[in-house]
Symmetry: C2
Subunit: 317 residues, 2 copies
Amino acid sequence: MPLTLEGFGSYFAGGRQVVVSGQPSQRIKLSPQAVIEHDPNGTFHVEQAYVQWFAPAGSTARPPLVLVHGGCLTGASWETTPDGRPGWLDRFLRAGFAVHVVDGVERGRAGWCALPGIWPEAPVARSAEQIWDFYRLGPPDGFAARRGYPGQRFPLAALDTLICQHVPRWFSTIQAAAEALIAVLERVAGQGCPPVVLCHSNGGLIVTQAAWGRPDLLGGVVAVEGSGFPESPPPTGLAGKPFLFVMGDYLEEAALWRGLSAATSAVAGRLKAAGARVTDWRLPTLGIRGNSHLPMMDDNSDDIAARVIGWIEAEVR
Amino acid sequence: MPLTLEGFGSYFAGGRQVVVSGQPSQRIKLSPQAVIEHDPNGTFHVEQAYVQWFAPAGSTARPPLVLVHGGCLTGASWETTPDGRPGWLDRFLRAGFAVHVVDGVERGRAGWCALPGIWPEAPVARSAEQIWDFYRLGPPDGFAARRGYPGQRFPLAALDTLICQHVPRWFSTIQAAAEALIAVLERVAGQGCPPVVLCHSNGGLIVTQAAWGRPDLLGGVVAVEGSGFPESPPPTGLAGKPFLFVMGDYLEEAALWRGLSAATSAVAGRLKAAGARVTDWRLPTLGIRGNSHLPMMDDNSDDIAARVIGWIEAEVR
């Protein structure tokens, strides 16, 4: 089915300029025909977000959607699923939403900071074994044979493609990521309508931290499989704002996820107490079993997208 | 003007799996509610390319186009120009080409390798001052005041946005990048038609290295502002293949570019001697003055795109 776009493009938002000095230069072979004296000092821009946007024809009746990926991931998680089906980006565009896909601070096309002293600790990469455990694909002893939990909906035959989606990350950049996201939201909201922000996993922490700081910029939040949230009470500016939390299956299989499930219930409670309109979906209680930490890639990803779209239609005014 | 897509999506190609062992684990605070014991050992995929593709409705009469960015850059260089105009990705789609935008090895959404021992040397970041010099925007003493060369076509008021596009790079990954690109070309050519590969700057070295290895996968090459090429003779498999070299203005202003201009002439000569069909455009000799190292972002980017499209129509059969 063809898709007609009114427009598309990309932009950068947020971050800051830094100046490096006092570092020694080095000779670098740029190509077989060019050796350069590389001076590592000078002016750099760090901690910006990259955003790729698409506006389908006739999208003005919907609020814009901003998609914020999880930890060790990029905006690619919303594109083609590991087994080759159209992802949520496609589904939301076809439903008529203008979509802004974020590569957050230090991820993907946003770039990362290789300068000395800016992010002092070492970056962390996520192994296939960690992906298997953390994303609740199957029991630890099932990794080698790709034997998932019974009823697992993630397309396990495409696990190697999922692994390719992963990039290194830092754990010290949450505040910088929240600030860059606020710069994105200012730009999107400034076009006329506060966006709905849909986030995954660690994106839940970044988005709620941004929401605590600038509730005025949000039309609503959909936190899919959030892996943590601010402990502080939500600001009064979130009163009346719609929040949807979505959690998949197998939450009882690991201590980490029992804790994060409780953290989701707790932040949902804090938001309700602050007057927000909160919906808390545990998919198994809706009769939907088998979802991993990656509902946007599981074999029922279209069904979950349709339910999220239905929630936005009902709740975001 | 709306644009109708037959389809779009993304995929990964190439690279290899590596196994890390013997590294100590560390405790990491994942979020306010979760502390994990991070085991850095396990299975990882490194040196893959990421490709985002778009197929406009009715694109089958054209060869597919593969876009390969330059050093310290990502596929974002083909999108919106720094001053907010539609980039070459938009122009090629509207001209009816299916376009595959590559983020090469260790760039953008392809991810980079943070594992010990895989890429031993340190990554390099490009400062704003180096961008100014290397991209031939203006004289060295013009940087602070943004005073470019007379007639400069790069939108200097948007220099800060160009700086945001830059990401760190390694200089030891050219062969890995060429191999991942071959995996991309195998996939694209396997869909029925060998693609035209359009590359920028350091992408010229990666693309020609891939072309020397697998000439059968190429319908043609457009090397925009190439910054170096293989010294070895081209393979006989390139006989009859069309190559276009495009170089902008101000090549005489710096020793680096006088050398790289000569390198372009030299590789064009080697290709001609091997029987390739070579076109070598120095834009000023065509009466087009003022182009920087970034013709896809300069104020006449639409004109240059139209000329490249005309060359493809005339030369790629």
